[in-house]
Chain length 711, copies 2
Amino acid sequence: MPISQQTQLISHNIVLNRGNVEAKRAEIKAYFNQTFDVYEALFDTLANDEAYYLRPCSLRHPLIFYFGHTATFFTNKLVLAKLLPERIDPKIESMCAVGVDEMSWDDLNDAHYEWPSVQDVRNYRDQVRAAVNDLIDNTEFTMPIDWQSPLWPVMMGIEHERIHLETSSVLIRQLPIESVVSSELFPICPDQDSPAPENDLLSVSAGDVVINNQDPAEYYGWDNEYGQHQAFVQEFKASKYLVSNQEFLAFIDADGYLNDKYWDEEGNRWRDYSPVKHPTFWLQKDGEWYLRCMTEEIAMPSSWPAEVNFHEASAFCRWKAEQTGKPIRLPSEDEWLRLRDFSNAMEYQDNANWNLQKHASSTPVDQCAAGNFYDVLGNVWQWTQTPIYPFDGFKVHPLYDDFTTPTYDNQHNIFKGGSWISTGNEINGHSRYAFRRHFFQHAGFRYIESDASVQTEFSTYETDSSVAQYCEFHFGDEYFNVPNFAKTYANYAIDAIKADADFNQRNDLRVLEVGCSVGRASFELAKYFNEVTGLDFSARFIRIANQLQTTGSILYTIPQEGEIMDFKEQTLRDLDLEKTASKCEFLQQDASNMKPIFTGYDMIVAVNLLDRLYEPKKFLQDVAHRLNNGGLLMVSSPYSWDETFTQKENWLGGYKDSQSGENVTTLETLQNLLADDFEMIREAEDIPFVIRETRRKFQHTLSQVTLWKKR
Amino acid sequence: MPISQQTQLISHNIVLNRGNVEAKRAEIKAYFNQTFDVYEALFDTLANDEAYYLRPCSLRHPLIFYFGHTATFFTNKLVLAKLLPERIDPKIESMCAVGVDEMSWDDLNDAHYEWPSVQDVRNYRDQVRAAVNDLIDNTEFTMPIDWQSPLWPVMMGIEHERIHLETSSVLIRQLPIESVVSSELFPICPDQDSPAPENDLLSVSAGDVVINNQDPAEYYGWDNEYGQHQAFVQEFKASKYLVSNQEFLAFIDADGYLNDKYWDEEGNRWRDYSPVKHPTFWLQKDGEWYLRCMTEEIAMPSSWPAEVNFHEASAFCRWKAEQTGKPIRLPSEDEWLRLRDFSNAMEYQDNANWNLQKHASSTPVDQCAAGNFYDVLGNVWQWTQTPIYPFDGFKVHPLYDDFTTPTYDNQHNIFKGGSWISTGNEINGHSRYAFRRHFFQHAGFRYIESDASVQTEFSTYETDSSVAQYCEFHFGDEYFNVPNFAKTYANYAIDAIKADADFNQRNDLRVLEVGCSVGRASFELAKYFNEVTGLDFSARFIRIANQLQTTGSILYTIPQEGEIMDFKEQTLRDLDLEKTASKCEFLQQDASNMKPIFTGYDMIVAVNLLDRLYEPKKFLQDVAHRLNNGGLLMVSSPYSWDETFTQKENWLGGYKDSQSGENVTTLETLQNLLADDFEMIREAEDIPFVIRETRRKFQHTLSQVTLWKKR
């Protein structure tokens, strides 16, 4: 299906929340076929079939994989969504599904791959195209097209292919020049000689960045684009132009690649590993610099943007800061968004070098203005300092739970703006693509001057399975209609102190929670108490409580079935705990050997603690002097004595006494141990709790609570 | 508190279910004080304080322990029952609580015991006596006095002391003769010379033995006496007299102790261990036999009953059978009870040599008639072949959960009838005392002639914790209002086959349950299906199912808190499964590798099985040909995949497919694997189940059930 004119490459994002069904059906069908066309046209830049089987990079599959991959993706997602009854070509699909990213040496063993022929993949693509066309023609759907719509997986397949249109163009750019041919559909920019402009720093006024993107939205989006985000960005200066090859050359000439002080630790590791001490698409021949474009090698176009990875961009900024004495650095995602707002860049997008609407290459950095700035959108992507992180309210789409979640690891940095070949979702104004910091794309950078600090560590998914289990237990869903346990017992404690004549007139009360785990009850206690100290033996648990207090949110994954995970986010705000959280302090501490400093409390709460201590008696014998006169002690436990945690000789109950031969229950021992210092002031009662292990498997337990008043 | 007249030794059982409170209070008070008096009077037969510290037997504590023990028992139980606020003398109580039975060498290390002085124990006994008197005077109670009554632990202490009155008299009988003195309160029978009568076998007609003893009962009882029991006893002959010393001498003279053929395996082990080849209380001096009584040694009284342990009694019977050519043996408990009924022995009890009402020793075997028989009650206890076992409906009393339960081990045989020093509960007509078969008491035997077989193996408490957990899961209580799971899914299966037009007119249906565990669902299926095959990989589980089918009941213990156990009994009758149980067959079998014979079923049920198989796929691929045409397959699982049971490569779901990269759920794999042979005929649904781990800790799980019809 040849494309004869360049204009046929240009596409437009489909509006999914407005319009009528049949018009939308036709629009999506055209968009789908155009996407398939453009993708196939891109592969026509390979010089011959052999080129499909060359590795563009030692850690990547050959292009034949990517040629088959985008069609396979359609099949896989449509089968998963039960829109296709069965696979189309299981053999090709088994070869072309997995392995998009860098792989380990093991996985790249050629003996493991019997790649299909190019013609076989073309035939397969035709079959998939026919199936998807048939599906678009015949699937019933309603407007808007949202996450639940049967057309969502179709849009997902299309936008997935558009991502690969760009990343494949990068891989093609990495093939030997003999293996590629230029194409009139992908014409290089002819303006290769103009001098680079002198860069400048222009002010960007302070302002708020506000994102609130909900399903159903106007355009197709990946999971990471949804949710709420708000930030105030202080005034800064941003470079008027992207950093040009000429501007970057000064860094090279200053031996910037040879000086470790311009690189951070990870950057230096990459620098040590990489044999090439210049941008990856640069070549030096006879002392002259050349630039490898997608299908051409040209004399270095000084005025085009420098294309580098994050490490190179950051090193340049450190050098530039040293040179200028100014706080030069890469922008954060928020700062970049503020620049886009400030420059009204979206208004200038028809003039941007993106969406294949100008050239199949970069253009000089001074051609596409947006206000006083240039190339805010398009030309090449612009690295930011911000690792990708989820917005509040983030959820995975069930058909693609690993699109973003594996990249919430503080190792994938966001770049913004888009390149000449960015299309579809990539340029809809919401997208947030992130790559490993050493990756190359059609990506460069713009620097800014600002003394504001930038957040570069975000909470990642808690994958420690027991910690994640407790995150869900404290902050997650309720199961079997059993109310949240931590909230319930915190309220029991609050009720108790409110009912106590010694304390109910006071608003300066201090409470100590021993065994606070990930902190939910302590946060609840802070709604009433003036000061809450939460202690836990486990630093892993305390870390979560501290993270919640500091950042307001946690992320974790819990098993659904086997290794299939649910991805969860919890925020203090959603639980109405945000305003009082600052009254809490969380510390790691051994309950059987607590420091003297933890004293002077009006109430002490110890829930699900005793039967996990190695010396529970010591805790109980030691607890009275930590309370103020008349203070309350709340103890709760399921009495699940287990030698894993407590040697049998230290159990408080659940055995026959060696002297009397009589059964000793924990409640009796509690009464004996606490009798001298305390009066038991309520009947013991059981509070149920449920801990999820998988979607179908739970622990369901009763914790017996007793309340004591210091004499 | 001296007792001047023998009549003061005689007591009468207290009727607990009739009478008015104040009269009963006085009666119990008198009974208590009389018990304390008699017990102390018994110890007056010790010649001096030193005698209290001698070991009557190398494996037993000295008498000083027992002197303090019965008072300590009062304290312990009354503290446990919260009737006493605190211990009376913790030091004495710590020495005198534990160690009633034979002990290991380690536990008898003298260095571990600093026994109190006799006077200290006397003082302690006075303190306890005062406390109990005070308690009887002041405790509010109502009639009847039942298990919940505050006077029950008082009665428990009294009857406990009465047991020790007898067992201490045996220990005193084992002390050196120099260490004991005779007492006018405990006069030996003067008739020591009369000749023994010739024994005879008299007929006892067939009849039913019926026991139905419920709380509140007429008299105080130990846990093992309560419940229901019914048996038909066929006609037999019983010896008119207990076996006399003279009759037993013939066995000794025939070298019965030297010939292993008269002894069973355990008996021979005891015989090898024991240096003495005659009854333990016999002595031989200058070729003449003497008998050691409690405080005297006398020339062998030929006409008194021979006192032996179970092994000696059994050996005598084997020898006697050989001599006579008749099926001579010891009676079972039921046969003994039938003899008591037949002889109307309870009508003659005022004439029996028991309750200290005649002598403080045996009497000739031909003095106390009951109908045509003698000594059916009293004189010495009579060994039976029956190991103690619980009646249906057995429950432990919470204040004394180890009175009987440790003896439900087929190693403690019941003896019946009572001895001259048996009082109180021992002679109330309900009691069932059992001792290790090598133990000596004031016990002998009566033999019977019968060709009926005797049950000597009873089900014991299942203590394998996982098996016991499943016994409770299948047959025990419901928790959190979740209906019994095995019954629920069996009913799902029955509903399914009833709704199927191919099967709903038939009454010859065969069902196979794979993974039947301890069998509850198979028993439930037998209510509708004509033939039920239950298979499980675990022989431990299948054993329980078979035991239920054979005996109708199971016993097991499950943890309450720590090592404190609940004792449970379940019967098929209570679950209305008794009548159809014979339609079941239970076999051990590997579901991943089933024998070809298991075929031709109309329905196959596999619940909570798949995720515990090492090759679940093999089971599913193999299952269709085992079903008749149109047959139903019911599969249910929580999909709790775990590498402990199933290697990851064999999981049916819960992973990302290595080829497509997509999540694979177990349900999808089931659909794929079964698609060729089956049609899925119902929507998948979750059935909840709860497994108790302790009184407060449970697993709460959802099992997803799917129903398939063979094409």
